[in-house]
Assembly symmetry: D2
Homo-oligomer: 271 residues x 4
């Protein structure tokens, strides 16, 4: 961690406010929604269900980084428009990924929080570009990124002028292939002791297995995560992306019910 100038300043937790949501405070922040924006109907249906359950931040991909160029790559700008429309309808904030420095301005027009995905954690021109805007950045951990590399990626954003950074643990790549990735929950208290960044956990990508989303969410809340990012789709079996790890709104409601007592146990509120 030698060489970090801004990321390890020892100050109070950097609390970030986005519409009704407060990230890094006493309330567990929930970001939920589909892997990819597929249609108005899909998004609205999901958002309304989530809104009723108290979710304040809607996630959904418009530009999708996919291993294969032949996979569904997202609706692009049309996806952004749908996100904004649905967010306005429901009063939710929107978090969505940006992959290209050229598109930072465009995405910033529609989104409340810009996500840097794990494949782009060391995409330095992109980090510099999002460092120049005045919106919160959700910086996912690279799939083989050490703690130090992750904090230096945040440092790029800080050094460019943006200190509204939320970190997101989403699993790392290990020799274990049963799960999509191995979730490193111990990074949560490490981040919290070294930095002032809020840190959330994405159990959907970390495990890739629907049945593990609930238990990993429980573990994440207990270990002190500031929030959760969870994939929810009205019909996972027909999702264009990551259906096998998505919850239905009903399953997500059940998850909220089950994590509430753990929130209480660690002194966090949940809406």
């Amino acid at each position: 961690m030698k060489g970090l100038k801004l990321a390890v300043e020892n100050k109070a937790k950097n609390i970030i406010k986005v519409k009704d949501a407060v990230i890094g405070g006493s309330e567990l922040v929930l970001m939920a929604g589909p892997c990819a924006v597929e249609s108005k109907e899909q998004l609205l249906l999901t958002a309304q269900a989530l809104k009723e359950l108290g979710v304040k931040i809607l996630r959904g991909g418009a530009f999708k980084p996919r291993t294969s160029p032949y996979s569904f790559l997202g609706l692009g700008q049309q996806g952004l428009e749908l996100l904004k429309e649905v967010a306005d309808d429901t009063g939710m904030a929107v978090v969505t990924e940006v992959m290209d420095p050229n598109e930072v301005q465009l995405v910033a027009e529609y989104a409340d929080i810009l996500q840097i995905g794990s494949r782009n954690m060391q995409n330095f021109p992109l980090l510099q570009a999002v460092g120049k805007i005045n919106k919160p950045i959700l910086l996912k951990r690279g799939l083989a990124a050490t703690l130090s590399e992750w904090l230096f990626a945040a440092e790029y954003i800080l050094a460019a002028g943006n200190n509204q950074i939320i970190l997101c643990e989403r699993g790392i790549r290990t020799f274990e292939t049963y799960t999509r990735n191995t979730v490193d929950l111990s990074i949560v208290p490490i981040i919290q002791s070294k930095t002032s960044f809020p840190i959330i956990v994405d159990p959907s990508h970390a495990t890739g297995i629907r049945e593990l989303v609930l238990p990993v969410s429980k573990g994440a809340v207990a270990i002190g995560a500031d929030g959760l990012m969870i994939e929810v789709h009205p019909n996972p079996a027909e999702a264009l992306c990551d259906g096998e790890q998505s919850l239905t709104p009903t399953e997500f409601a059940e998850l909220l019910k089950e994590i509430k007592p753990i929130c209480a146990a660690v002194g966090k509120t949940i809406s």
Copy 2:
């Protein structure tokens, strides 16, 4: 997991009773004590403190697997005698590691639970030897063992006739070097859904960092672990082994206090 015959039988949790302790039931089982048995005084002091805090199983190494042959390798049989003496004095059960098939009978005379350490997870003669005794076996996950390999290691013990197996996640080896290992808490619900083995978590070895023992314990309990194995030493600064990850009895008492509400939240009792 193709090829497993006994380890994946779908039956109820295999509840294991050892003296006053019940492993795999509704009570969170606590195993605590020093990395290595160093002296009567050290062990008794630790055990009495732990006993008062409700710990029913005392851990302590008599035969120590150390990377270097010049490190403290344990007191051997004398260590076993001290463990038994202190266990009898306090009414606690004892868990201790066995490294050599030749010593299984010896260790079984003194210990209530025999531990197979991570370096020996695929020491097949040792697995076969502990499969032939009538005492519970604590089988730690190998440091680079896949889920499948771990279950096949258990299968060796089962096939030899011993079905009293407790699994222990103690961190896996990854590219991340900030922590000693990376704790894979997601393995806990996987084990619980696939097998009938109780599974506990060892946050001391998983992280190697004293300050992380508490938060990882919280996460482990919330995700559903059946118990915790924690290194406690009356004077970590002078420990002959793993001092930097050991808690004092006072810190351990604090840990218990902090995990109690989480136990309650997930429906577990704690003594």
Copy 3:
């Protein structure tokens, strides 16, 4: 590898010609030069020495992806100009990294081969951008990229219309920290049996240790690599980047001398 359409076509090796160099043919291709372009003097001195030794492709970074934003990030466009100037002076071809889709056109004006660095192997907008130009692309393996992910990254470039792809193994991230990365030489024959891409090896980044560059080069040539990419600096002790893995021109000359018999043994020529 299911889903690949273009990368695994079974045809003859795709031979790529750049100025005097032929990549994928019977001659071992050598790419050498400093990690970063630092000055006209440094670059010219290096290039002249390399040219005399038969090197046809000069490497040098103008845009440098560095973990820390406070490290030397390269001379940018000025670095490109120096590369072009020196290349023209010496008759060498130039390979240099491009990090930003916005800069693909710019870099293509100066460079003969555009390099995609390992951190950007899954920077899909960048892959698509270099897929639209008519210059060879050197696609380095991501530091934790599987074979399949690497080939899909190439597929992005192919699908965008550019089939002049050279792959480069530069070490992968493992638990071993003695070397900077672990060089996976077995990937060379795998690539050669599955695809028509030429593949070269970068022993400098793979090991991070000067003394290992020669032996790894020997192994790479013997296993069938189509070329080597090696960092050479006139004064490694004062290099602004990666000095500890750079060879002096003299050491590089020695390396050439030592790999010549191995080239002969595997039927490769070397200039």
Copy 4:
């Protein structure tokens, strides 16, 4: 490597002689034979073919460490007897694995070199037991063993009194699953610069793929390995163990022919 006392002494290569073979000298040592001893016919057929090709050391497993207890676990003492019989018939030396400290004396009666397999690299009682005999030990690298851990394992043997140690790189576990393991050829020159141990490479276990045995052998010889350990079976399709990575004697003869020029290029002889 701090703490090593004997393994890193800077002296000349420790040359080990076993029957007609010299390990660590100018001749590339070849160890070949079936994964497991299956029958007299299988072993004799293989040994005679290998002997004719100049192989001086016959490998074959009598005690097999297998992930599943239901796999073929070897013929045990009968396998040892067959190995000795065939070795005596052909004049070859024998290398075979020992897994149990109890069996070290037994195996030493039959074998010329005792192998410690990768799963047992940190089986310290076993290391101490083979440290007390007067036969060479082939110490394979653990599948997730760092350089330092490997050398400390050798130190256990040295400290017990046996300095006839041959190291064997057999691939390490990484995220890449296309090959069985990832062969780390760069460890060869590292070992040679730090220690006096001969080091050989096992391309069969390192890759798990028949077609890769030849190219990896070429790379290993060129990088400086003192020898190769290769699985050869008269009928790989019917092998009881590791058939998919075994060569036929004919394929092995072809391999020898192809590595000869590389031996010449690096100044090694080959019988």
